[in-house]
Symmetry: C2
Subunit: 247 residues, 2 copies
């Protein structure tokens, strides 16, 4: 591991500089937070599991033509990524109503949305990551209209790829959060991670509303068996990747 | 006053039926609430003041060609209105950043918006009147796309009329909330009230950030002199109406 001082320590990862200023090293921790960090805990080996899942999914998306920050997985908990300036937005894509969408609008959990919903939240812990209407987003000057359109298109395309991928893992992709950044040439890259921390994943074969949960909601809602759920996602993802490589 | 049983008692008004099923009587109370009714109190004579202001402004808008529910002011606290089916949306029009827009986005209070912002909130106390993105609004099936467009157009037109009216009262119209309803022929009518309870009004001549406040924020933020601020708005509104009638 690098001996350099960390650049930034977040809730789930630590970012280190490398000898190449265009490359960062991301270290995946076991710490878990929920409800804007009001709830804190540890999920044993989460760092390893999420590093492996995110590496697999980012590689998969890159092969599908999505520009991502992923360079290489270099250890159990570490990946090299292209350094980007993160656009301070959480881009949430929803296929099925769950979480805050249900809490805020009264829509029943599990309702299939007529089309994927792309929502923008301001990535700002102090403001509690508020949902932004398109007008508020434009007012905040976080990104140009052109960039917003690109993010929307990228989000929808990524969603199609991930729905398909997870489907072949017998996993239903309910919703997920993406972060994007700008590289040194101002290209938009998919950054951060894709993992059970950032996706809602339901076991497609399981009907029971608690048992089907394979993501951080197990931690949020104290459903137990958090570690084994994450592990199960990893196993299915890696099996599917292997299948694809051998086909 | 009618002797009939009330149809509905809200936080600020009571709705009574009349002998004509297409007409309701609205009684304006002195009770005041804020923060989704967590804060409760009384503003002496608010009922009288708001009934008079709302009557004046709804009459003014009706003359400008806006379809409203207003029929007639029949006593100090009562007005007759056309019975409508309220569309459960709070349509908020913002000219200057204030209130929840600032709290949620970090925009500085007082920042003049490049253009009026029309926002839709779900009128649902249990859900705490959540802000709706256009996509969420469409998902909830509260109104047709055509109706939403009409609401937006009406809101902007009403805003232009009210900005102009309040300007001649030396009052800056910061933001305000409207409710609309459908009459027996499914026409959209402006309903409910327009008053210092539902508008942010700043004394245009006053620079001091607390002294300039002439609306329910005096109650929300415990700024004192609530009654006299409401009274001042009433006096200026009635003076301006008189001026217009004599010109
Ligand atoms: N390629 C990248 N370049 C720069 N920063 C990144 C990159 N990928 C992710 N980040 C940022 O790294 C930080 C660490 O991740 P995380 O622990 O999830 O933090 P947070 O608590 O802010 O969500 C996040 O702020 C994330 O936006
Ligand atoms: N013309 C109308 N016909 C039917 N209902 C109306 C009309 N105008 C206003 N209302 C409704 O009357 C109710 C009473 O007002 P208010 O005390 O402000 O209630 P609330 O606490 O629900 O805001 C509100 O729900 C409002 O939507
Ligand atoms: Mg994060
Ligand atoms: Mg009301």
């Amino acid at each position: 591991m690098t001996t350099k001082e960390k650049l930034y320590e977040g809730k789930a990862k630590i970012i280190y500089p490398t000898d190449d200023e265009r490359v960062y090293l991301t270290y995946y921790k076991d710490s878990a937070t929920a409800f804007n960090a009001q709830k804190k805990g540890t999920i044993t080996d989460k760092g390893k599991v999420n590093c492996a899942i995110a590496s697999a999914l980012l590689t998969y998306l890159e092969k599908k033509g999505i520009p991502t920050h992923f360079i290489e997985k270099v250890s159990e908990r570490e990946m090299l990524v292209k350094a980007v300036k993160i656009i301070p937005l959480e881009v949430v894509i929803r296929n099925i109503a769950a979480g805050s969408l249900c809490r805020e609008t009264g829509l029943p959990e599990g309702q299939i949305l007529p089309q994927p919903l792309v929502e923008f939240y301001l990535k700002d812990d102090a403001l509690q990551d508020p949902l932004l209407t398109p007008d508020r987003l434009a007012l905040l000057n976080i990104a140009t209209n052109e960039q917003i359109k690109q993010l929307q298109t990228l989000a929808k395309t990524i969603n199609q790829h991930l729905i398909e991928f997870f489907k072949s893992c017998q996993i239903t992709l309910v919703d997920f959060k993406l972060e994007f950044g700008l590289d040194h040439q101002n290209n938009i890259l998919l950054a951060d991670e894709i993992s059970p921390d950032t996706c809602r994943l339901w076991d497609t074969q399981e009907q029971d509303k608690e048992k089907r949960v394979m993501d951080k909601d197990r931690f949020r809602k104290d459903l137990g068996e958090v570690e084994s759920a994450y592990q199960k996602v990893l196993t299915r993802v890696l099996n599917q990747i292997e299948k694809l490589e051998n086909s």
